[in-house]
């Protein structure tokens, strides 16, 4: 069952990337809000502080994982001919993973420029 799910032609892969993106987004926003309530970094540090650094790290890690999944689906798509069911799913999966990777990067980048809790 799990093995079938993991195959890049399983329909679950069309949403997996977007689900990961959503979880990352919740972690990013939730983590920021909770950290700002409980242990806010000092204002003088600007955008360079432990909180922004860990959010950036999280973002980069998520992007990396998503890119890897993109490549996996993309390669699977090439193995199938024409407009078969498998090919469609693998292609859409690659697109969704790829978009999620880009989206994570774009949404996450402001942590390099803005102070966290102001």
């Amino acid at each position: 069952m799990l093995k079938a799910l993991w195959r890049p032609t399983h329909p679950a892969h069309t949403t997996l990337g977007l689900i990961l993106w959503s979880l990352w987004f919740v972690a990013l926003y939730g983590g920021l809000s909770v950290a700002c309530e409980l242990v806010p970094p000092t204002l003088e540090q600007g955008a360079v502080n432990w909180l922004n650094a860990s959010l950036l790290l999280l973002t980069l890690a998520t992007t990396g994982v998503l890119l890897w999944l993109t490549q996996r689906c993309w390669r699977a798509a090439k193995r199938f001919e024409g407009s078969s069911q498998e090919r469609l799913i693998a292609q859409v999966g690659a697109g969704a993973h790829g978009f999620s990777a880009g989206a994570a990067l774009i949404v996450g980048l402001p942590v390099t420029a803005l102070p966290p809790c102001l």
Binding site: L43, G102, I106, L109, P110, A113, L114, P115, L118
Partner: protein, 184 residues
């Protein structure tokens, strides 16, 4: 961009493509969708964010270079604005007075529902939220009277919940302040 897109669409509806092979369609699809569907919006987003984020950062109420900003407390209520100058014994209703070229932090609170403090010509708007104090940075570069208004719907009196911000040159502001303190 908008006009270009509409023109393209119009042209697409009118033209007669003749015979087109499957292969040509695929090439067209990939070219158009990659260029128009991905590159165009992503490029615009990158551009807007690159301009927008620094602009937003400049509007942050960071501590100004020369010590603390001047503070004015504004408490919104249904339907008006109570203005207090801390430690200066000045209380006003529906009017603020500020010196020009001086960063002023408005500390916004509310006595009842959510209102929103907005002086269009000086800064963006910021809501007053029960239980919280929000800080809005104002700075007027030119003296004069600026109109402000509640921007968050707050009940029957919402339409008439306006106020004024008067910016004086620093010397005149001092005079105004002394007079106001004497009046109180």
């Amino acid at each position: 961009m908008f006009v270009g897109l509409i023109a393209l669409w119009w042209q697409a509806m009118r033209r007669d493509p003749g015979e087109i092979s499957q292969e040509q369609v695929r090439r067209l699809q990939n070219r158009w969708i990659l260029a128009g569907g991905l590159a165009l919006p992503l490029g615009s987003i990158a551009l807007i964010l690159a301009l927008g984020i620094p602009a937003g950062r400049n509007m942050l109420p960071l501590p100004p270079a020369g010590g603390d900003a001047m503070v004015i407390e504004v408490k919104a209520y249904q339907w008006g604005w109570r203005v207090t100058y801390p430690d200066q014994d000045i209380e006003l209703t529906d009017e603020l007075h500020i010196p020009t070229d001086t960063p002023v932090d408005i500390h916004l609170t509310t006595a009842d529902v959510i209102h929103s403090f907005w002086v269009p010509r000086l800064a963006g708007k910021l809501d007053t939220i029960p239980g919280r104090t929000n800080v809005l940075r104002l700075e007027a570069s030119r003296p004069g009277e600026y109109r402000g208004q509640c921007a968050e719907f707050c009940g029957i009196g919402h339409a008439h919940m306006s106020f004024t911000v008067t910016a004086h040159p620093p010397e005149e502001y001092e005079k105004w302040r002394e007079k106001a303190q004497a009046d109180d």
